[in-house]
Amino acid sequence: MTTLASGSPATPVTGPPARFRDLLASEWIKVRSLRSTPWTVGLTLLFVVGSAAVATLADKAAGSGPAEFLPFDAYPAAGYWTLMLVAGSMGALTVVSEYSSGLIRTTTVAVPARGSVVLAKSAITGALWAAVGTVASTGSFLVSQAILDGHHAGVPITHPGVFRALVASALLAPVCALVGLGLGVLLRHAAGTMVTSVFTLLMLPTMFSETDRWSADVKHALVAGAWNRLVQTWEPEPASLGYTATVPGSWIVYALWPLITIALAVLVVRRRDV
């Protein structure tokens, strides 16, 4: 962003310097002041942790099967795909609601540095959903372990891959929220953004299988595919016919999706009419 030419005689007002943390505080006020925020977060947490409890209770093999599969009970697809859906939608809503109401114009007159606004929104949305994801993931793990302990089949967090699964599940929410936010800036249209983010995050992964190399590559390059790999605490069997993603590759996928969508959003928002 070009800054104001210093010492311009025509500039009448010298306020305090433009600080990014003021933008963060401003975006936090916006998030905090909506009644829907605590409700959405609360209900989502309840559902995700609840789904972990249900999945673990339903695991009849618990105690007889190999311990590697047990931590997986804490992260059932039903709960975590819902988390992806909610986080993606809420991330998108933070910007789409401004575009559909026109509030974005008020915001842009207040802060003409449009890229900074997108970055501040991303930081607040990312932080909020990282917190929600951490509570969801830790809660899922603890609830699941409490149930497994009842069968004397608990798996400690120090077990290989267990901590990785917990972190990957915690980060799933902010990754999806940021992808949703980036798509929201790019598309602006409420319904279009919702459909696109649900399609990209949830529908697209189901289209591809792991039996063909190319198809597996596409699947592994998607957020849901990366999460699947990261929560698997067991290593793939060498004789397996399917292709398995690598763990570092999956972390890279996690990082690239939000980075690319937000970077595109910042680029586009600076060039486009508001």
Partner: protein, 321 residues
Amino acid sequence: MAPCPDGGPLGSVGAVIEVSELTKRYGGKTAVDHLSFTVRPGQVTGFLGPNGAGKSTTLRMILGLDAPTTGAATVSGVPFHRHPRGLRHVGALLDAGQIHGGRSAAAHLSALARSNGIPRRRVDEVLQEVGLAEVANRRIGGFSLGMKQRLGIATALLGDPPVLMFDEPVNGMDPEGVLWVRRLFRRLAAEGRTVFLSSHLMSEMENTADQLVVIGRGRLVAAEPLRDFAVRGTRRSVAVATPQAAELAAVLTAAGAFVEPEGSVGAGKLAVTGLTADRIGALAFENGVRLDELTPRSASLEAAFMELTADSVEYLAGESR
């Protein structure tokens, strides 16, 4: 209003909106066409034009929301979008609906104030100023249009800026609100601020504006003091009623006037332009014509506005052929 801590808008000699050769095209449609004008501090400048004339597009370009196709707009000598934070430079109300209905007025203003490093107490001050202090914590979604307009004005005042822009600010306001807002605009101008006010209603300007910028079909029609505009725009006409209409019409036409019958046929009413009422009276007397009515019509702003913008429309339609 709180005085600005660092000398404020009163010391801002250069708080000028400068629009030069501004053009905006959407596909094949030209919304704003080589528009140039200047808006100066210490006055209320009205921005007039019929619906679709390009007023809002122009305001958006001044505020850096839309990029001009060609030309430039500056505020205080700087393109507005160059400011990292805007509220202390320009306050704007573009559309009262540009809010999130789920937030309270206080939260809405707090978020905006915080983004510009404006202290929280300023939010209470502007809410007080616009008369929304009592509903500060109610959800904006339940506000009437008039209340939303007041909130939009509060937003514009938040940064105590030297330049203020309002797009159709009195829409939806009750008569008391309209009076309040007029006094507010006058006061802001008297404080040395630049006040730029768009409307499609000439009558609104009549009571508020010192200067006018009139556009039609995206082109400049007039930029001058309100008084000059009223005088220049309308040909002065005189209403005449007489039982000898045909006779009088012949006499006046011979004297170089333009005569049009008014009302129903045979009602004996004429509208005369090109002669003063005195002259018409004298000519009638000399020719033995009885007059029942002889009324000079003063130039009305509304008529001037209609006439000028209609001209611009005809001009454009003719040109495009």
